[in-house]
């Protein structure tokens, strides 16, 4: 198992798509930090102001989540679909003939890269957002005091979103379709379903992947900017975590039995 994990680590490290996902975490986190300061209700005559409310402080700490919510699943999708796109699945399964071992190794490396992604976003916050907040007159400790409430959820959500992407990728196999469906599902399909459920059934569709991850991550992106979030009751963080785990494991298990176990012809 250790050999398989080490090989998968090197494999992902040598794939440009993984670095693109990882690298985009940096500008997207910076972008959302800027947006949070811009939207923090600055004093008259000022474009930006320091974060005032508890919610704003948590959003600032977890600014990376807004990018991670779609980059982590895409990373997971790339991790498995690149094997089919470049036909390397054949040599992978010759090198590691136990297929469950290959999938478990991919779970480990996907989780590792998503962890790094979350940590990178926190580094951007630490070196960019906190000094900026202090320069605007904010108290740094008021923000860092929220680390316990934000960081574990952010990291867990990132990892579980990555596993969701991995599971989804085992079912889809086609890389382009997997990435497009991930983006479309996150930004188009899920908001439409949530809005429809709210409008027609007055029901909070709060167990879909993004909403569940939002709950786990401490509603970091909720109500941000628009003020028209259709979900009024997010799940609790642990319910969100369990549901995200299910969103990762169920497609992974299903994909294992329907796709990965199939003949490689």
């Amino acid at each position: 198992m250790i050999n398989a994990v080490r090989a998968e680590m090197l494999k992902l490290r040598s794939m440009p798509g993984i670095w693109v996902c990882f690298g985009l975490t940096f500008p997207l986190t910076a972008l959302f930090i800027w947006a949070i300061f811009a939207a923090s209700g600055g004093t008259p005559g000022h474009t930006y102001d320091f974060v005032h409310t508890l919610n704003e402080r948590r959003q600032l700490l977890g600014a990376g989540y807004n990018g991670i919510m779609f980059l982590a699943p895409i990373l997971g999708v790339i991790c498995i679909t690149s094997e089919y796109r470049h036909k390397t699945i054949t040599s992978t399964l010759v090198l590691v003939p136990r297929r469950s071992r290959v999938l478990r190794a991919k779970v480990v490396v996907t989780a590792w890269w998503c962890l790094l992604m979350a940590l990178l976003s926190l580094v951007v916050v630490a070196v960019g957002a906190l000094p900026w907040n202090a320069a605007l007159g904010g108290v740094t400790s008021q923000v860092t005091d929220q680390a316990g409430a934000v960081v574990p959820g952010l990291v867990a959500a990132s990892i579980l979103l990555g596993l969701f992407g991995l599971g989804f990728g085992t079912l889809v196999k086609n890389q382009v379709a997997g990435i497009l469906l991930t983006i479309g599902g996150t930004f188009i399909l899920e908001p439409i379903l949530v809005a429809l459920a709210r409008a027609i059934f007055n029901y909070d569709l709060n167990w879909l992947p993004t909403a569940a991850a939002q709950a786990l991550a401490g509603s970091l992106s909720r109500g941000f900017g628009s003020g028209h979030d259709p979900i009024t009751h997010l799940l609790s963080w642990w319910q969100g975590g369990l549901i995200m785990l299910a969103w990762g494991l169920v497609p992974l298990g299903f994909g294992y039995f329907t796709t990965v176990r199939r003949d490689i012809t």
């Binding site: 050999n3 398989a4 090197l10 794939m15 470049h86």
Partner: protein, 313 residues
């Protein structure tokens, strides 16, 4: 290359191997054994089940019946799969952005081998100068060499090669031939599938010939060609059925190669010409072909079979 004589190979055993893809019977109760220390050619026309058989041997395809083992064990049950078996399956299975050395380091890691082996095998296959190049810029021949390097990373006892000379230039093919013979001389088991029969005839010691998923012949090249060692005439005629009947009556061995082509063995134009004239058989072409693996292969795999005296193996 020198030829050390150590015994280190393991037998490949295929027994009762059967595979259906829906209604298509790809491999039909196939039985054969590949011995160590020899280069065994796995020959058959396209769609004859060669690749499916090799993939079943490597655990990529699950058989409906039968077993394919290496040293008595399924590939996936081998304690050190890549240290036991090296496989060259398709030269396109590389990530184009990965560098040759990185690819081999990854292969070494997966098999639990020393990553320093990457440079050793790159040197072995003549790609040392291209170690830092991305595989996406490799030619087909270079990819074949890299695939071979991947197979050799664990210094395996058994080497399985599926059409390894595809994309190789004549120099590369000659190099591959010498390389396979060298590896076999070390006692390793070499199973190589190919449709380049003239090339195979110069390389292999043993042959397994399949058609429509069924075994047609197996053994040493000598034993397979034993029945047809004499010169052969190829007669192209619209009256092939009548020609076969005449030859049977005359006690002359023949092989039906196609609807209008018959190989007549152990005879000369001087003997065959009068026979054809006497029986007034229309002839479009009569050529002296000698006896080679290709004509035997065509006979075995054409589905039309040998004449009554020409059944080898």
């Amino acid at each position: 290359m020198s030829a050390p004589s150590t015994s280190r190979g393991l037998p490949i055993e295929i027994s009762g191997l059967t595979k259906h893809f829906g209604s298509v019977l790809a491999v039909d109760h196939l039985d054969f054994v590949v011995e160590p220390g020899r280069v065994t050619g796995f020959l058959g026309p396209n769609g004859s089940g060669k690749t499916t058989t090799l993939r079943m041997l490597l655990g990529l395809v699950t058989p409906n019946a039968g077993r394919a083992t290496v040293g008595g064990q399924l590939y996936r049950d081998l304690p050190d799969p890549t240290g036991t078996v090296g496989a060259v399956l398709e030269a396109t299975s590389f990530h184009p952005a990965r560098r040759a050395r990185t690819h081999l380091r990854m292969v070494a890691r997966a098999g639990g081998h020393d990553e320093a082996r990457a440079d050793v095998v790159l040197d072995l296959v003549g790609l040392a100068a291209d170690a830092k190049r991305k595989v996406g810029g490799f030619s087909m021949g270079m990819r074949q060499r890299l695939e071979l390097a991947s197979a050799l990373i664990g210094d395996p006892d058994v080497l399985i090669l599926d059409e390894p000379s595809n994309g190789l230039d004549p120099q590369g093919i000659a190099w591959l031939r010498d390389f396979m013979r060298y590896l076999a001389s070390e006692g390793r088991t070499i199973l190589v599938s190919s449709h380049l029969l003239a090339e195979m005839a110069q390389t292999i010691d043993n042959a397994v010939i399949v058609s429509h998923g069924q075994l047609k012949a197996q053994g040493t090249l000598e034993s397979i060609t034993a029945g047809v060692t004499q010169a052969s005439m190829h007669a192209r005629t619209p009256e092939a059925d009548r020609l076969c009947a005449v030859l049977t009556e005359a006690g002359i061995r023949f092989r039906r190669l196609s609807v209008d082509l018959v190989a007549v063995d152990g005879t000369t134009p001087e003997q065959l010409g009068p026979l054809l004239a006497t029986n007034q058989i229309i002839l479009y072409e009569l050529t002296n072909e000698g006896s080679d693996l290709e004509s035997i292969f065509l006979s075995l795999t054409s589905g039309l079979g040998f004449g009554e005296m020409g059944q080898p193996a």
